[in-house]
């Protein structure tokens, strides 16, 4: 709902028309930006792809039918986001590749996902804690991307954000409940948090690509997401009786530049098997 001053601004119609006028999309008008934009879109799409893949590994093996179904919903959302991000990346690249080509025919060193999402599922504690730490970042990132100067990026962010709001609501809720549940659930959640914490700093470590995209108004500077993320994470972890770990968060990084853990290679070997074994076949 518009606040009162807006309503009383005399030239409100002119302002509205101005806001509706299509802004030049830097993604289309600034050719030098394309490599950075392609890279940035792969970073988003690869993280949603790899996490969606990890979650899909749970299908049929969840701790309760209700949870099995819920995890599959999140995986489906993330695969949907992947199709949008990598689809746009492929368009921007203009090299005749499709979203599927990017997902199925790049090797690990070309993947740009966060290390956090490629870590093996472990138990539900690790899966849910990883989900929460990612969701809190993902939510903030998408919020900011809805204001991107690139209309295409903003459009995808708006669609994805609707779903990610729920992801965050759900994972926060479960982290609180399991952190403050039984002694065993607390122990498992605390262990998962300790194990995952060193991977979280990567979400906020910018490089030249990020700087170029931030400069062009396409994506936020990653460091600028930290405060909001830290606020949500602190609130939830406190309520979960877990507390924020004291150790350094920026130890494990490199995924966004293509330097991964050993785990990604196996994930890709499995995921890409058919495309690699039967090149050019249609499915």
């Amino acid at each position: 709902m518009p606040s009162l001053p807006d309503m009383t601004t005399p030239n409100v119609e002119a302002l509205a028309a101005d806001a509706r006028a299509p802004r030049p999309d830097p993604a289309e008008t600034v050719p030098e930006l394309k490599p950075a934009l392609f890279e940035g879109l792969c970073r988003l799409g690869d993280s949603t792809l790899v996490l969606g893949h990890r979650l899909s590994e749970w299908c049929g093996k969840g701790p309760a039918l209700e949870e099995d179904i819920a995890l599959a919903n999140i995986a489906l959302d993330l695969i949907g986001h992947t199709q949008m991000w990598l689809g746009l990346a492929a368009e921007v690249e203009e090299a005749g590749r499709s979203a599927d080509d990017l997902a199925y025919l790049r090797d690990a060193m070309r993947f740009r996902n966060l290390l956090l999402v490629e870590l093996p599922n472990g138990d539900m504690a690790r899966t849910l804690m990883r989900q929460f730490l990612f969701d809190a970042w993902h939510h903030e990132m998408l919020e900011r991307l809805t204001g991107s100067d690139s209309a295409r990026v903003a459009e995808i962010a708006v669609k994805a954000l609707k779903e990610v709001r729920y992801h965050l609501e759900r994972s926060s809720d479960l982290v609180i409940r399991l952190g403050d549940g039984t002694a065993e659930s607390h122990r498992r959640m605390a262990g998962a948090l300790d194990m995952l914490w060193p991977y979280t700093g990567e979400m906020f470590a910018g490089d030249g690509t990020d700087a170029a995209l931030a400069e062009a108004g396409i994506a936020p500077d990653p460091a600028s997401l930290h405060e909001a993320w830290h606020g949500i994470v602190t609130e939830v972890l406190e309520e979960a009786t877990l507390g924020v770990p004291e150790g350094r968060a920026d130890v494990q990084k490199g995924g966004r530049q293509g330097r991964h853990t050993e785990h990604l290679g196996y994930l890709l070997a499995e995921m890409q098997f058919l495309q690699r074994a039967y090149p050019g076949a249609e499915w």
Binding site: L65, I69, R170, D173, R177
Partner: protein
């Protein structure tokens, strides 16, 4: 065997203007989680705008043996149904 999550009955309003309708049930540890689970289980195809959850054990139902007394009287009151009234076609739609 550990205590089972209680059973909840799920009611969904498919669009504003319609009643909530019973769609099924599920298990959840409490009401908030039941709502989350209901969203995931019963609106996978965008079926709802509003969800009610009620613990199955909290529902008081008429006893089936009362089915006669509770519902039979209405059958006598045919005057409650529009078809009871014979209105000539010439009157037009009513």
């Amino acid at each position: 065997m550990a205590r089972e999550w209680p059973l909840w009955e799920i009611f969904i309003r498919s669009q504003n203007g319609l009643n909530h309708r019973h769609v099924g049930s599920l298990h959840a540890p409490d009401a908030e989680t039941a709502i989350h689970n209901a969203r995931d289980v019963y609106t996978r195809r965008k079926e709802g705008v509003s969800i009610w959850v009620v613990r199955s054990a909290d529902i008081t139902a008429s006893r089936p043996s009362e089915k006669g007394p509770l519902f039979d009287p209405a059958e006598d009151k045919v005057y409650r149904h529009p078809t009871f009234y014979d209105i000539p076609d010439d009157v037009g739609h009513m």
